[in-house]
Amino acid sequence: MTGDLLARAGAFWLAPRGSTRSAALLRIGLALLLWTRFATDLAPFRGFTPDKLALSAVFFVATSAMLVGWWSRTATLVSGATALWLMFRVGVHGGHEPYVHHHVYLLATATVLLALTACGGSYSVDRWLAVRSAEGRGEAPPAEEGDLWGLRLVALLVSNVYFWGAYDKTNEVFLAGYRLHHMFGYLYLGSDWPVGVATANLMAVVAVATVVIEYALAVALWIRRCQPIGFVVGIGLHAAFFLLLPVSTFSATMLLLYLAYLDADAVHRLIDRLQGHRPTDEPARAAA
């Protein structure tokens, strides 16, 4: 009994295998988000000092390779490490406040964790080279299958964001709606003291709902049966954040990372169906 449990936990956390398409989509999405966040700051016209040019070169070469999937895992690791460097060296140590924000840390950490998984097995130059090589040998193309344990860690990262984000808000000031009232007042309402208590009450309701949803998502996204409703609620939550608050790349990153919770083979089958291919039970292995 305990042995079975250990074996299942080991298979889930340490040796999950499956289609590499989810990881590939994450790789492409994260590369584009890294460009969205940093490309303008790191463009050569920002400065011609040797250190800036070197940082710029590393960033653009690594993220370009990550995007097209050439030396995918190495490129992803270097891209993530560069983002961490920007956050800790330029942001924390150098005092550049915009790089200290949580959305930068999320982006950098998720990228590093993705490098632990087979993110170049699909939609990549690596894949194209592997297929061409197999064809040259007269063999069938290799399966789009690989090690996916990094995806488990990416999903854990997202659950951490929800749980600890909710934990931070679990206090009288936030739950009473005061902090949301400050934010929405600052952004939308102007400085007129509202007449009546409708605004304050609405903010309190929204505050409690936000905290409940964040705690729930931290757990629900792991449970297959809860995923459909979890995704709908999560997408709604992040759409609201994205539209109403200056969250930069945070919402887009979180929603992209939802891919890590999904069964990778189910994602593979869905893409096959969307492209009009005949669905199979074991898509990742079918080609092997």
Binding site: T2, D4, L14, N160, G165, M183, S191
Partner: protein, 140 residues
């Protein structure tokens, strides 16, 4: 399956790596948010904790012998609606800015007794900074 057999199949190197990463991912916010640690390498998930704290709300009132009437501050300053007003007029960030706007109102409405209820945002909620206790047109 026997425990020993299951353990035999666990990839030990990866186990150490996963335990380390999971410990770091979950331990860092615990260290920052529960214990109160300050090491910048350990990150918590504290988002928008200070956002909107440079913000005040105010209700200006014209006080007379037999009345205490709320003023539409934006209308007095010549703006038809909230979004027509410049940002620094519609949104006041501090008690100092509330007093500066009060002086502008005094110029527009000479001779009035101008009072204000005002509160400013802090991380701990609202801080009351004015409660109609003084005539702002006679305060230096």
């Amino acid at each position: 399956m026997l425990l020993r057999e299951a353990w035999h199949h666990v990839p030990k190197g990866r186990l150490v790596l996963v335990v380390g990463i999971v410990g770091f991912l979950a331990g860092s916010p615990f260290y920052r948010q529960v214990i109160g640690g300050k090491n910048p390498a350990m990150r918590g998930w504290v988002m928008f904790s200070g956002y909107g704290t440079d913000y005040c709300q105010v209700a200006f009132h014209e006080r007379g012998p037999d009345r205490d009437e709320r003023l539409d501050r934006l209308a007095v300053l010549g703006h038809d609606a909230l979004w027509d007003a410049p940002r620094e007029v519609r949104r006041l960030k501090s008690e100092k800015q509330v007093r500066r706007q009060a002086r502008q109102l005094c110029r527009e409405l000479p001779g009035i007794d101008l009072r204000a209820d005002a509160r400013c945002a802090t991380r701990r909620g609202w801080k009351r900074v004015m409660a109609r206790e003084e005539d702002l047109c006679r305060t230096p």
